[in-house]
Subunit: 383 residues, 2 copies
């Protein structure tokens, strides 16, 4: 019996570890680091989007492929607000997830559970499911959080009319300041979409088996959780928190670099000289730290940046200044990566739709480096 | 501001849709379709493993890299049996998942929930978590199933001393026949591992962000669910079930082929002339169908195979004859893909360990095919 396969003949394929630099498919959704273009969502520059758009406009752009008109935007916002309710079974699950759980595990479990309660019955429901997830996510996260913090069962349907406002409102239990809402909104815009990063790629691999929408999003949340991906903003905060002032930060960082410790929040797989999102969030971090009397935190952050540039020629990525900005908004560190989810659900959803529209199962090959074929060895004869 | 990146210059990289034929990494765990070698797990041929091994030996081989000695195997089996208990919070979640849910969604949600109850606190716990998942999975699936079928809260800790035996025991509520247990065991062996298939690749992408073990397994379950992957065995059963006899099957299949409908359970991305697992499971399907008076089902299956070979030069893959064999064991069709999970947890776990041992973030690039850069358009001016 022969096992002829489509494996590349030896020597014809070169293995690029981590698929670094390998084109794995096509996308209309964003450019990341294309020379002279930088980061765009469907052709609009991230600078324009962060300056002029709201997160809901950006989410609409990603899901529907064009900016909404005023009536389209109003209807979209209304649908997302209408999708805030949490089914009682899901509330009961959230109450049974321990208070010690990582909030990313809460979102992963809740998304999977919602998929059993409100399954995607046909691919025509995909846009509905993505809007439902955009609507329900902040409430799910904060229902769990506030229940375990204070035993309170919050009403997840309240909280203003945007995702940014609702998140801060439910977190603090009161209407947030306009400046804070706008800072949060900009952060959501910056985190919304980023081409075939690891979590988006995960969502597309799952979608490529023609599995359901919830499976793809649940998987993406699991991928985003890792410290080499979304988890980096929490790691950046821990680093900044460990410093008491800029001079101490510089001395400590030099020690860490000498020991070759990994510094989170710097560098990027695709960007090689700067992350265009970092410049935008840095301005907001300074503004918010000033407004909330946290300039020490900001000054420490700037010094860490300066040392990394000087010593390692490394630039901050979006995660680095997001950390001090989130702190200035009173957001607990374990919520940093979950905020990334609330936003990136839009990008993931758009990629799942794009994958389905022109699908091919994503199934690479591996180079075999294991033992040669060997005969069976009966249990009795092993030692 | 320039955005220099590591993108390949235009024309230097060719896009292979679905990463078909692209080497994405290395593995010691299995060969799939290498000419003259076929399918091996760590050098042992699938024919030898299906003939001589038990599933627990195979799982040990995958997780620990070598066949166990007698004391090692006994200790491994004992640990898996000891891992059968379901925490009360997880039982409560299972009771809240609707009876209408797909059992794959039950396993996905339960794995994610278990990750909140018994988180992986350090990478040293990885082998423990994989054994825990091997032990708990059959009970989780059947606790949910029997609770919603009959309101019964079964004891998931009983059921003999192997995964194959326990699954059939809990499903039917009585000790299974030895022939049935062995058939189930062979099926678990055949499904245990298959190189960088879509669900395993998903698990590795998630693991490559240094996320936790449960996130990777949860994601893999979501990928396996799709009809282009694990879901194919259920689709094959539905096809066979729609046929009343071999002649009808032939006529109906010719119609379907004329309409270019997709026939599940045939062909394979990597194998090009046969799936070595199919020959093995076909023998078992015949044996079990004979023993349980289901030869009509088997004969229909054989006729479908003959037509597919004659008309399309396509061969059955593992999923095709698994369907009639599972039916002969009294297993409901929606349980077919979940059985794949009970087994493949071993392969996924081994790949997560392998990924972590030599990690590089898996992050490919996409070719941009979207709109050219365009100026911002204010909301008021859109139409």
């Amino acid at each position: 019996m022969s096992h002829v396969s489509n494996r590349p003949a030896t020597g014809t394929a070169t293995l690029r570890a981590g698929l670094d630099g390998v084109l794995a498919g096509e996308t209309r959704l964003s450019t990341v680091g294309i020379t002279g273009v930088g980061l765009t969502y469907l052709g609009y520059s991230i600078e324009d989007l962060a300056e002029h758009a709201t997160f809901e406009e950006v989410a609409y752009l990603l899901l529907y492929g064009q900016l909404p008109t005023q009536p389209q935007l109003k209807a979209f916002r209304d649908r997302i607000v209408a999708h805030r309710g949490i089914p009682p079974e899901l509330c009961q699950v959230l109450e049974r997830i321990p208070s010690s759980a990582h909030p990313m595990d809460v979102l992963r479990t809740a998304t999977s559970m919602l998929g059993t309660l409100e399954p995607e019955k046909s691919p025509q429901e995909a846009l509905h499911v993505s809007e439902r997830l955009l609507g329900i996510m902040p409430g799910v996260l904060l229902y769990w959080y506030r229940f375990h913090q204070s035993g309170q069962r919050i009403d997840p349907t309240i909280g203003g009319d945007s995702i940014a406002e609702q998140f801060l409102w439910l977190l603090h239990g009161r209407p947030p300041e306009a400046l804070h809402v706008r800072a949060m909104d900009v952060s959501l815009i910056l985190y919304a979409e980023h081409e075939w990063n690891a979590s988006t790629f995960t969502a597309r691999v799952v979608a490529s088996t023609l599995s359901d929408f919830y499976s793809a999003i649940t998987a993406a949340i699991g991928a985003l959780r890792g410290p080499l991906h979304g988890g980096a903003n929490e790691a950046a905060m821990e680093l900044i928190d460990s410093m008491r002032d800029p001079d101490y930060a510089e001395a400590r960082l030099l020690e860490m670099l000498a020991k070759k410790e990994k510094i989170m929040g710097f560098g990027h797989r695709v960007y090689k000289s700067c992350d265009p999102r970092s410049d935008i969030i840095q301005v907001w971090a300074r503004k918010l730290c000033e407004a909330t009397d946290l300039m020490l935190l900001y000054d420490i952050s700037e010094r860490i940046e300066a040392v990394m540039r000087r010593e390692k020629k490394m630039f901050p990525n979006l995660d680095f200044y997001s950390a001090s900005m989130y702190r200035s908004l009173g957001i607990p560190t374990p919520m940093f990566t979950p905020i990334f989810v609330l936003s990136r659900v839009s990008g993931w959803s758009a990629h799942i739709l794009e994958q389905r529209a022109n699908n091919r199962l994503i199934r690479p090959l591996a180079e075999y480096v294991g033992p040669e074929p060997r005969p069976w060895q009966p249990l009795e004869s092993r030692s």
